[in-house]
């Protein structure tokens, strides 16, 4: 069973629909117990990091996700959920994340050419930097859907894909069983479904 952590940030309807469409046995849950018994865990998230982080930790669900990750259970963070995997974010202050992957979350305006629109909204091509099981069913250069103003700044070894938006932005990361996508696989058409499909085969 795959648990989608519901910690009161954003709506998980589309994500749950996309997993069901590819035949996943999944549950949207705010129960730490169900997260602890899951074979796979997805940490979604939209909005501001600080707000998401507060809700994730105060609900106790962050702790459950952390324990699962440390046990080796596959964990996939999506968008702000991916950002939460890092040590900290500098969005509107400085907030700690789960610290599962070294690095921090920073404003994309520091990286991209001036004059480009922020947030990056739309379809951009993924450049695969490292072969990874998550990319089993997709190709280098496939387009995925992004909506974000911040991205992860992390050592190269953790970056499995990036994207060019007038500067190189982190697209997807991995450290062992912990993975994250800055883009929204549940909104990235067949390519996105194929990334989720590959994730469901793990664990």
């Amino acid at each position: 069973m795959t648990a989608i952590i519901d910690y009161g940030v954003g709506n998980l309807f589309s994500l749950a629909c996309s997993l069901k469409a590819i035949g996943a046995d999944c549950v949207v849950t705010d129960s730490a117990e169900r997260i602890r018994s899951a074979d796979r865990v997805i940490l979604p998230g939209v909005g501001a990091f600080g707000d998401a982080q507060k809700k994730l930790f105060s609900s106790g669900l962050g702790q459950a996700a952390l324990e699962q990750a440390q046990k080796g259970v596959p964990l996939l963070g999506i968008c702000v959920g991916m950002q939460l995997l890092f040590e900290r974010s500098l969005e509107f202050g400085s907030f700690p994340g789960l610290g599962l992957i070294p690095g921090e979350v920073r404003y994309i305006g520091e990286t991209i050419s001036p004059g480009l629109k922020i947030p990056q909204i739309g379809w951009n091509a993924l450049s695969i930097r490292k072969p990874h099981p998550l990319f089993k069913y997709i190709r280098d250069g496939d387009y995925v859907y992004f909506v974000h103003s911040y991205h992860a700044v992390t050592p190269k070894e953790y970056v499995i894909a990036d994207t060019d938006y007038g500067g190189v932005l982190t697209g997807a990361v991995a450290s062992g069983n912990v993975m994250g996508c800055q883009f929204h696989p549940e909104k990235s058409g067949e390519v996105g479904l194929n990334i989720l499909r590959a994730f469901l085969e793990m664990g």
Binding site: N11, F13, S14, C17, S18, K20, A21, V46, G47, K117, I118, P119, Q120, I121, G122, W123, N124, A125, Y143, Y145, F146, V147, D164, Y165, G166, E186, K187, S188, G189, E190, G192, L193
Partner: protein, 252 residues
């Protein structure tokens, strides 16, 4: 770099697509869900569902359809039509919409833009604007173009952006339905001041119109059209192939 988006718009009334017509391999062209799935498979980058129902029964049918579409189509969905309150935002977001577009109601109550942006984030709030030339100025119209608000287009766009709109759909009433190309003049002015994505609407008649749009106004992020896609005058896979050959970055 980010791709230029191609967006078909589906007007839905009483659970059916208005203007839907013939498609090969699609039995029920008036079914919004089937048509949405078809466009997604054809390579549409995003879909707009426009609710043109007046009754509350119709509203319920619309949200049911939206949920069904969201469970079959995995690209961004924007919903518009009759959005007048945060409750309306909530209603459609829960059924799978990713973005919500406001138009007339935001003109009556501009604060709706700010409230929605604070609650759901700017990326969720699309400001849709109908405008045309009146006495040498661009003026904003309400109620589907039936009512001249007297507002200057540029003033309204600036205000909408200040209030937190995360995307602009600009529909030129001067070029809408004429099929001789997008309103490049109007779009250039708006793109020059918008720091958020601008979606061009009104006037597409053929593939070349999209190439002209993206080349002449680089600040435009997407082209939206309805009837040319519904009537099969422009087919999305061919349009994308054509744009790629014209060196315009599109998702194929």
């Amino acid at each position: 770099m980010i791709a230029k988006r191609i967006i078909p718009c589906l007007d839905v009334r009483d659970g059916r697509v208005v203007k839907g017509t013939r498609f090969q391999g699609l039995n029920d062209v008036a079914s919004p869900v089937d048509l949405a799935a078809y466009y997604s498979q054809q390579g549409a980058d995003e879909l707009v569902f426009y609710d043109i129902t007046a009754s509350s029964d119709g509203r319920k049918i619309f949200t049911d359809i939206l949920s069904e579409a969201a469970s079959r189509v995995f690209i961004p969905l924007t919903v518009g039509g009759g959005i007048s309150s945060l409750d309306d935002f909530d209603r459609v977001l829960k059924c799978g919409a990713d973005k919500v577009s406001v138009n007339s109601c935001a003109l009556r109550n501009p604060d709706l833009i700010r409230e929605a942006a604070v609650k759901y984030g700017s990326q969720c709030v699309v400001l849709s604007v109908d405008a045309k030339r009146v006495d040498g100025r661009f003026r904003v119209f309400a109620k589907g173009g039936r009512e001249d608000t007297g507002l200057d287009l540029m003033e309204w766009i600036k205000k909408g952006l200040d209030l937190g709109a995360g995307e602009i759909v600009l529909n030129s009433m001067d070029t809408d339905g004429v099929k001789e190309g997008f309103d490049l003049e109007m779009l250039s002015l708006v793109a020059a001041i918008a720091h958020v994505p601008v979606i061009a609407s009104g006037g597409a008649g053929k593939m070349e119109d999209f190439a002209t749009l993206f080349r002449a106004v680089p600040g435009v992020d997407a082209g939206l059209a309805a009837s040319i896609f519904h009537y099969g005058e422009v087919k999305i896979p061919e349009l994308k192939e054509y744009l790629r050959n014209e060196n315009i970055n599109v998702r194929i």
